[in-house]
Chain length 197, copies 2
DNA sequence: CCTCGAATGTAGGCGTCGCCAACAATGATG
DNA sequence: CATCATTGTTGGCGACGCCTACATTCGAGG
């Protein structure tokens, strides 16, 4: 009699990803279990297996979605009309904001578990993400506002700095407030370095 | 007849830590299991519990040892007689070298699992580690070779950059060779920034 | 409209894990 | 030498990821 729920969920895959992201945000990576997700969504413990061949596949899907969200966030934060320094500051703010309220997800995105297959889709997403920064730097370089050199290399160090700060935030060595407040100073450092002029 | 091994191991705690570090290096964090460690060392599956209250306690001990090793490595790499730039380069090289052949361990060291207790010992070890960099920067600052500003803040951004590069290495976006080769350029960037002079 | 195969969900089981409690051997302290 | 804390063993609990066999539903071709 209890017509309960239909035998088929409708969009279990999406529901699992949504639940996973919520769990990730609220309880952290360690609390992510396929069985628990199945329970939350109301299906049997083996149902997730129909949509993700194993746990890593789900993590990959989460990471992929994360990259897309981050790339979009960076793209909307980028205002090509701005001068270099404020333009970079906006990007840095957007990245740090993402890192702050997606700490566990970001960690997942950076986990090097997907080297073997590489999954092209993932690579493309990463490219899109770092592309935001690279574009800005390359343009500035053409205008002579940034030193010469392989753009990829420049992009690497700036990206590393950002990534490092994000890591410090999730390690708890830097409060989110301090990080966001320091964004301007951070960009200034990126541009001018440690040496006095 | 088989007088096998004595009932008591002698120094089980150290043996476990050693085995754990080996496993960490060879198979990665995911392959670390208390039961497996016990098997490797030749004790029963519950024996580790006598020395580490839970798995996290073992991980903390590993991280602590890692910090001590890293701090020592940085200290021996620091030559106060050198001018600023080569001196920093040596430190960067030492840090990257550690990151390269202790990737999984470094990840553990940066995991923010030990905020609650803080374990003072850990905090002291961290302080010792970052202290190497901070000292160099503070001295250079006094000599006027580095811009003014809160030394802790300067230290933060340089540390973040280093940490970020290390992250890129373990993410596989940067080969160890490329990272070490780029150390000099990295330091130059830290000192001079992206803007042309 | 019906059938039949593919897609999706369920039930149960296997081996492993971390942790716990009860018990056994050892070694240090009086 | 007796006693007791330390250290190791055995066995068990619940949870996990993954697998296989089975059930239900959906959709495409007759």
């Amino acid at each position: 009699m209890p017509e309960s729920r239909p035998y088929h969920h409708g969009d279990l895959r999406a529901a699992l990803l949504a639940a996973a992201e919520r769990t990730l945000r609220e309880k952290g990576t360690a609390a992510l279990s396929l069985r628990e997700l199945a329970r939350e969504v109301g299906v049997s413990h083996a149902a997730p297996g129909r949509h993700f061949k194993d746990k890593q596949a789900l993590l990959n899907a989460l990471a992929l979605a994360g990259y897309e969200r981050l790339a979009q966030s960076l793209n909307t934060a980028d205002d090509p009309a701005l001068p270099l320094e404020p333009r970079l500051t906006a990007l840095v703010r957007a990245y740090l904001a993402f890192a702050i309220d997606n700490a566990a997800l970001l960690e997942l995105m950076y986990a090097r578990k997907h080297e073997p297959d590489a999954s092209e889709q993932m690579a493309a997403a990463v490219e899109q993400t770092v592309g935001s920064l690279e574009r800005v730097l390359a343009e500035a370089q053409q205008r002579g506002e940034v030193i010469d050199g392989d753009p990829a290399e420049l992009n690497l160090v700036t990206g590393a700095t950002l990534h490092g700060v994000a890591g410090f935030i999730s390690a708890g060595w830097l409060t989110p407030e301090a990080a966001l407040a320091g964004a301007e100073g951070l960009v200034h450092f990126l541009l001018h370095g440690l040496k006095p002029r």
